[in-house]
């Protein structure tokens, strides 16, 4: 070992091929994201399942940020505790970073300056590379020193972990397409890292990668990008939003894809409009105004935004105006931990606004579902004439996830719902905006400007009769509220079905999860099965709950509900809506702001099995 102070290898683990966790400790705003992303993508390109996660502060520059990559040949995409290899490029967090390496793991660091005594552990291996030293020698421009430092450590990792160099070269070529003259310098920086490792260490390490064919035709994309793309495919033309982490990139990606796919080739004009609103109240107000006027419109926000949107969501429910809201959940309450993940907006989203209101929730758990459920949301909003809330979270929204590729049925047509044309209005009797003509409790609507004398009405949040005429008559009010309940029943039949992990129930124990709790729940089920604990599993995709959800709970003696919030909000929703005996539903919770791990689920479930 070249480092004067670093100890030599003490503990030798058995080889870990394609099954380990690498964490990068960086300083926010130093350009590490693209280098780290290249590292993860290279492993993905080698056919090995990988799941990268940004663990970042609410900060633009200076504070510690981490990037964690789990490599799992078995395809487990949940977060896993225990760092096998730490790439430490941030002196600020170094002590904490040293401590977080599991015994027997590796600690790569910048050895330009000697390591302080307090950072020395006996049970881990130190890999000192003089990153800054190499940069000072090679580059004169300070910005280049900064950026190439990141590339050099990726080069070093490629030698240590046996990442194919050609794959990295290819990724650089793709990254700098159109700016080809930047490629050689980057390749050279990679080589500097490789050379240092080859000259100074025995390589590759006992943790390393080997090419596999476990990725198939999967793609890597973040959930927010998938939602933004979904909105483009679904025909959204008006996006109104207010910036808030972690949802901001939903509209940014919508804009990126809309620019690409929706710019008129002849005129250069946009077949969409995006408005950055003054706040979330205005954003949802614009969405409601646009949908009322016949354009598909959406907004994206996070918990604090949903709080502000409550009044309008109630109007949307009661006045029966379609709207699509993508809520990328973060850690609450209040400002909470704005750059950490949680599934804690279930209750507020389901019952947003005063009075008797309920809203439809769609719960994607991977990018493909982000795309699909966003496109479905627009159809459902117009079919049911009500706001639809797509609930994702920071983990899904802001991290790249390996996902099945997007699909689009070429036969698919938008379901624009019950909208009367001028001709239909012309040939019918009196139009009643809130009349249940078809028995499904969904009335017909008209767009402003359709017919000179028929179909106009006054949309309002006040009570009104079937013809949209204001009334405070109790019987009429109740009739309308009952119709909305009936419409809710219609909605149940249109919700995406839950996903069952077994054809037939095999166990008295059931487990329910949704969204990003899915990855770790699936892994936990496998781990528990290895311990002879068999469970039937169901993944919920929507609220209101379909009959299948109720049946699954009925069919089991106890059911674990895995979710990422303190108050077991989904469990409460199940109890409240399906009138289930609370004792039957056992809460498995994680709400520390980090994605839930399989270990945690296994521990919690095992604990209850011992006591029951």
């Amino acid at each position: 070992m070249p480092d004067r102070d670093g100890p030599t290898i003490r503990l030798k683990m058995s080889e870990l091929i394609n099954d380990f966790v690498v964490r990068f400790a960086n300083v926010n705003g130093t350009g590490s994201a693209s280098a780290n992303g290249m590292f993860a993508k290279a492993i993905f390109r080698m056919g090995i399942p990988v799941t990268p996660k940004n663990i970042f502060p609410s900060n633009i520059q200076g504070l510690p940020t981490w990037y964690e990559v789990r490599i799992s040949e078995k395809g487990y995409l949940g977060r896993r505790e225990g760092i096998d290899l730490m790439v430490s490029v941030n002196p600020q967090s170094m002590l904490k970073d040293v401590q977080s390496v599991r015994p027997g793991g590796y600690f790569m660091y910048d050895s330009t300056k000697p390591l302080h005594k307090e950072y020395i552990r006996e049970d881990i291996t130190y890999l000192g590379i003089p990153l800054m030293g190499i940069c000072l020698e090679q580059y004169s421009d300070p910005r280049q020193r900064q950026l190439f430092k990141n590339i050099i450590y990726v080069g070093a990792l490629s030698a240590l972990l046996d990442i194919e160099f050609g794959v990295l070269e290819q990724l650089l070529a793709e990254q700098f397409r159109g700016k080809e003259k930047l490629i050689p310098a980057n390749v050279q920086a990679l080589q500097l890292g490789v050379k240092y490792v080859k000259d100074n260490f025995s390589y590759p390490l006992d943790i390393r990668v080997e090419r596999r064919d476990k990725v198939g035709n999967k793609i890597m994309i973040d959930g927010n990008g998938a939602c933004g793309l979904g909105a483009v495919f679904a025909g959204a033309t008006v996006a109104a939003w207010y910036p808030i982490t972690p949802s901001t990139s939903v509209v940014e990606k919508f804009e990126k894809y809309a620019k690409k796919f929706r710019t008129d080739k002849v005129t250069g004009r946009k077949n969409y409009a995006i408005v950055q609103a003054e706040d979330e109240l205005a954003a949802i107000g614009m969405v409601i105004g646009a949908n009322w006027n016949g354009a598909r419109s959406f907004t994206a926000t996070s918990g604090p935004g949903v709080s502000l949107m409550n009044e309008f969501l109630g109007l949307g429910y009661f006045a029966e105006v379609p709207a699509v809201l993508i809520d990328v959940q973060r850690t609450g309450p209040s400002t909470g931990m704005p750059t950490r993940t949680q599934q804690s907006d279930i209750t507020i989203a389901a019952y947003a606004s005063h009075g008797d209101t309920k809203h439809i929730l769609l719960l994607p758990s991977n990018p493909k579902e982000c795309f699909e459920l966003t496109t479905d949301a627009f159809d459902l909003a117009e079919r049911l004439q009500t706001p639809i809330i797509v609930l994702t979270d920071l983990d899904l929204g802001m991290n790249d996830h390996m996902s099945e590729p997007f699909e689009w049925d070429k036969e698919r047509q938008y379901d624009r719902g019950k909208v009367l044309s001028a001709e239909e209005l012309e040939n019918m009797g009196r139009f009643g905006r809130y009349l249940d003509v078809d028995g499904d409790a969904i009335p017909y609507r008209t767009y402003p400007g359709t017919h000179p004398t028929k179909g106009s009405y006054f949309t309002r949040g006040t009570s009104r009769d079937e013809y949209a005429v204001y009334t405070e008559d109790s019987a009429v009010y109740i009739r309308n509220m009952e119709r909305l309940v009936k419409k809710w029943e219609t909605a149940k039949t249109l919700m995406p079905k839950p996903y069952f992990y077994q054809k037939k129930n095999m166990s008295p124990i059931g487990v329910i999860f949704f969204g990003t709790s899915t990855y770790s729940s699936e892994e936990a089920i496998d781990l528990l099965r290895e311990q002879d604990v068999a469970m039937d599993a169901m993944r919920i995709k929507a609220f209101p709950f379909n009959e299948e959800v109720e049946q699954f709970i009925d069919d089991h003696e106890i059911v674990y509900v895995i979710e990422q919030n303190r108050d077991a909000q989904m469990r409460s929703l199940l109890i409240n809506e399906l009138e289930i005996n609370p004792k039957k539903l056992i809460r498995i919770l994680n709400y520390d702001g980090m994605p839930i791990t399989a270990d945690k689920i296994v521990k919690e479930i095992t604990k209850t099995l011992v006591t029951t």
Partner: protein, 350 residues
């Protein structure tokens, strides 16, 4: 007010150039108090739309919450309307306008709905130069909750209950000018000869057109000591000019002496004839408009009429570069990139 509207209509009622009678622009019977200024404004809106020959169904009425915001039910019964959320009409109107650039958006708000709870959205609608008419039915009080002072009540104004307002008034006209509104006017519900041409001009304007209309609340704010009573307003009113609206393609029949009159050509070709100009004021010069406003204020006068106009202004759709077809009319073939595009995208993500 009368509770029974006569159904008899003379068979030879005058028709406008698209063959509609004034009746075609009416709405449901008002439920506001008898003598309410708001009903006069509704009447002026009906008259303006009739005279301008607007197709009623090509206009959308937008409002917030309050006495004022109920009025869209009382005019243009063949138009869609949206009585939204307190103080949030501008955002709903923005969304509606984005969805369909071809309709006329007619917003009605009150002083509470605009100057208090809705201040945030009001100023941003101005900032975006949203193409809409924005009428504030300004009575200086909260009528529906029985007469509390609003933010436009003047300091020192005395309420019906006898209390004196201690806080300075927000002047929506001054604020509109400051924020860059491209059409700013003030009027009085009791002065239809001024209000009707102003509404017509506002509807012809391609950007945000603000008309602050003082509209006395006969029930809660028409007492001695109130600065928003009929008597007080009549005694203190001062107009920038008299105003004539000449629609596009119509001949101008009167002429006025130079120096005392001004002609403003609006974006759509219609013309505003302004006569007996306030000294030193030019409606296309913002500085002179601000000075005229401040001068009137310092003299305790309520300045009405057209205050400022920027006739050739860019609407929000122009600023955003949106297509000429209303977005709500675009079909799936334009909107959905399709399966090949998606497959290419998948490939780029591998």
């Amino acid at each position: 007010m009368t509770y029974i509207r006569p159904t008899f209509r003379h068979p030879n009622l005058p028709k406008n150039k698209i063959n509609y009678t004034r009746k075609d622009y009416e709405g449901a019977l008002s439920t506001l108090c008898a003598g309410c200024g708001h009903d006069s404004i509704s009447g002026a809106i009906i008259q303006a739309c009739f005279e301008l020959a607007i197709e009623p169904h090509r206009l959308a009425k937008m409002s917030g919450i309050g006495c004022s915001s109920k009025t869209p039910a009382y005019f243009l019964g063949n138009s869609h309307g949206f009585n939204s959320v307190h103080g949030r009409m501008p955002s709903v109107a923005t969304g509606a306008y984005l969805a369909n650039r071809d309709l006329v958006y007619f917003g009605v708000s009150g002083d509470g709905d605009t100057a208090s709870i809705g201040m945030g959205q009001f100023v941003h609608a101005i900032r975006r130069n949203l193409n809409m008419v924005y009428i504030v039915m300004n009575n200086g009080c909260y009528g529906l909750t029985k007469g509390q002072d609003s933010a436009t009540a003047d300091a020192g104004s005395v309420s019906k209950a006898g209390s004196t307002n201690m806080f300075n008034a927000i002047d929506l006209v001054g604020l509109g000018l400051e924020l860059g509104a491209t059409f700013v006017a003030r009027s009085f519900s009791g002065d239809k000869t001024q209000l009707i041409p102003l509404i017509k001009a506002a509807m012809s304007h391609p950007g945000f057109a603000l008309i602050d209309v003082i509209s006395p609340c006969v029930t809660f704010n028409n007492n001695t000591g109130s600065t928003k009573s009929y008597d007080y307003v009549r005694e203190h009113i001062e107009a920038t000019s008299t105003i004539d609206f000449v629609p596009t393609m119509e001949e101008i029949t009167t002429s006025y002496e130079e120096g005392d009159s001004k002609e403003v050509t609006l974006h759509d070709g219609s013309i505003l004839n302004l006569q007996k100009l306030n000294q030193g004021w030019n409606p296309e010069d913002k500085l002179s408009a601000m000075i005229a406003l401040q001068n009137a204020k310092s003299k305790g006068e309520i300045l009405t009429g057209l205050i400022y106009i920027e006739p050739n202004t860019q609407s929000l759709h122009e600023v955003l570069g949106t297509c000429q077809t209303p977005l709500n009319a675009l079909k799936e073939d334009i909107l959905c990139p399709g399966i090949d595009a998606l497959e290419a995208l998948n490939q780029s993500l591998r």
